[in-house]
């Protein structure tokens, strides 16, 4: 098991830059929009995002192992575009609710509902199920292994290593102010529309 953790960790270390590039367009605008000039608060958002990613990875580890056991070696074709469209829709909706201003219905208002405070978690989860090339490589390995515990171990290592690459996104956040938040919301809207369009395009091509 430790050997598989190391194998996943090494895969993450060697391909982490791609994870950084894939996750930045989602995480950076969110942090810019919702972050504050406080490390602790921003670190909380980051941890929630990572937790969402972790949950997605573990789910995939489970599904890949089960698929491997059942002798199926392919993902459903709709999984990636649907995840991408969902991610984009969530980002655009969050941004649109905030861009209109304080008087508009605000999805992320802190006293609205505790459930909505967990949105970074959902964003992390949706990011996790957007399959990037290194993730796909790990996924294929799990199909071969076809063992649930081994799958958890392998993807645990992969998650730990790739998280190291994503963490520098926190560096600039202690200087965030109200103006940066406003720019972040517009960025979140643009990025959301981009991913929504790409996801919908993928679904339209399929059906």
């Amino acid at each position: 098991m430790p050997a598989l953790f190391s194998e996943g960790f090494l895969l993450g270390l060697s391909t982490g830059f791609y994870c950084l590039a894939s996750c930045l367009p989602l995480l950076a605008p969110y942090l810019l929009a919702e972050g504050r000039s406080a490390w602790k608060f921003n670190f909380g958002i980051f941890l929630q995002f990572l937790a969402g990613r972790f949950a997605a990875y573990m789910l995939f580890a489970l599904l890949a192992s089960l698929a491997g056991q059942a002798g199926r070696y392919a993902l459903p074709a709709w999984a990636l575009p649907l995840g991408m469209a969902g991610c984009g829709l969530l980002m655009a909706a969050m941004a649109a609710a905030r861009v209109r201003g304080e008087a508009a219905p605000c999805l992320l208002r802190q006293d609205l509902n505790p459930y909505f405070k967990r949105l970074p978690l959902a964003l992390g989860f949706l990011t996790g199920i957007n399959i990037c090339p290194p993730f796909a490589a790990g996924f294929v390995r799990l199909l071969e292994l076809a063992d649930i515990m081994k799958g958890f171990s392998y993807f645990g290592g992969f998650f730990a290593a790739t998280s190291l690459f994503i963490s520098p996104v926190l560096l600039g956040t202690p200087w965030l102010g109200r103006r940066a938040n406003e720019i972040g919301r517009l960025t979140l809207l643009l990025a959301g529309l981009w991913y929504l369009a790409l996801g919908l395009k993928g679904l339209i091509i399929l059906y």
């Binding site: 894939s22 950076a28 517009l186 960025t187």
Partner: protein
């Protein structure tokens, strides 16, 4: 306009003809040097001389009349038209090689949203010893020099997109569409677009701005293949072209530069390195003439009704001409130089230091295409 404003707009005073001639000469000499070096390698130096004379003439007009923006706009728009004429005619005739434009390395607007990719290229060059990849670093050094010398002034003196936008925004007498109500609310859109493009360009290892938004590409040769992507890219190209060409005619604002250009946001951020500023006088009475005149939506009414210059100001000088109290000044970090006496003393002000810096640099940069465009025109007329 506030009824208290009784002084006529454009009350900036010029210098004497002699001082203006000296200033013109000061601009002409370095302009001729740079134009000869840059353009003279491939075409006759007479074309370089003509362009340097035009720059010197612009300097004379600015100094003699004291009005920066009107003459700047003439130089700026002609430079941009020359780019359009030379670049596009070269593409149409399929003969860009004989021109000096062939040496222009890369569009400056693409530089900003592609910056993270440049960093990655530099990392790869360091790691792999691929020295051919060091090109972007020299481009980065050129940008740093421009930013230190000119800062945000790049967008009002040198940019060939901006010249089109600026020239067209000056054509209508009054705006057909008033956008003052919402313009400030979306003024940060270029900054958001810049961040988005930086991230997505890195993620996809593609120049996303060039593919999706650049209004200058009249050829589809480097767009994606046929299908949904290509249709969307053409639609966005037309939208960006409309923002560059039609929107300034309707709004009398530099629409593309104000709301879509990622390089404008980039330069607004890094332009702080440059010492030149536009500063409102302490006794500004808040008549808002400058707010209406600003083509970049970069002035708002601050606390106490005083004009507040935003970071997006590109020091074009339009507000100087519009202010009825001559209450706006070019400064160095908000400070003016002590007044000097004598006929030439008027030239020892921040305004003329800035105009000298901007005009010589813009002439040097535009020497990549303007003399060649003149040559194209002569050939076209002469058959």
């Amino acid at each position: 306009m506030n009824p208290l404003c009784t002084i006529e707009p454009g009350s900036e005073k010029g210098t004497t003809a002699g001082a203006a001639a000296v200033f013109s000469l000061l601009v002409f000499v370095p302009a001729l040097f740079f134009a000869s070096v840059i353009a003279g390698r491939e075409i006759s130096r007479y074309y370089a001389l003509a362009w340097a004379l035009f720059a010197g003439g612009t300097a004379f007009a600015i100094a003699y009349t004291g009005r920066v923006s009107a003459w700047r706009r003439l130089f700026f728009s002609l430079s941009a038209l020359a780019f359009l004429f030379h670049f596009k005619s070269s593409l149409i005739t399929g003969a860009p090689a004989p021109s000096c434009f062939a040496d222009a390395p890369f569009c400056h607007i693409a530089m900003a949203p592609y910056f993270l990719n440049y960093l990655r290229q530099q990392y790869l060059a360091l790691a792999g010893g691929g020295w051919a990849l060091w090109g972007p670093l020299s481009l980065g050094a050129a940008w740093l020099f421009v930013t230190l010398a000119l800062g945000r002034g790049w967008c009002s003196w040198a940019c060939f997109y901006g010249g089109i936008d600026d020239g067209l925004s000056a054509l209508p007498g009054r705006p057909l569409l008033k956008i003052d109500g919402w313009a400030l609310k979306v003024r940060d859109l270029p900054a958001a677009l810049l961040i988005f493009l930086l991230l997505v360009s890195l993620a996809y290892a593609l120049p996303v701005y060039c593919l999706w938004l650049c209004p200058f590409k009249l050829t589809g040769s480097f767009l994606d293949g046929q299908g949904w992507h290509r249709t969307a890219q053409y639609a966005l190209l037309l939208a960006a072209l409309a923002a560059l060409v039609i929107a300034p005619l309707l709004t009398k604002k530099r629409f593309f530069c104000s709301f879509l250009c990622p390089f404008a946001a980039w330069q607004a951020f890094w332009g702080r390195l440059n010492p030149f500023r536009l500063t409102a006088a302490a006794d500004c009475n808040g008549c808002r003439a400058c707010v209406a005149a600003c083509p970049m939506t970069a002035i708002k009414c601050g606390p106490g009704g005083k004009a507040e210059i935003l970071a997006y100001c590109n020091l074009c000088g339009q507000c100087l001409d519009a202010c009825p109290r001559a209450g706006l000044r070019y400064t160095v970090f908000g400070l003016e130089l002590p007044a000097a006496g004598g006929a030439l003393g008027a030239l020892l002000s921040v305004k003329y230091f800035y105009v000298f810096s901007a005009l010589t640099l813009a002439t040097a940069f535009s020497s990549l295409w303007a003399p060649a465009a003149l040559r194209d025109l002569v050939k076209l007329i002469g058959g």
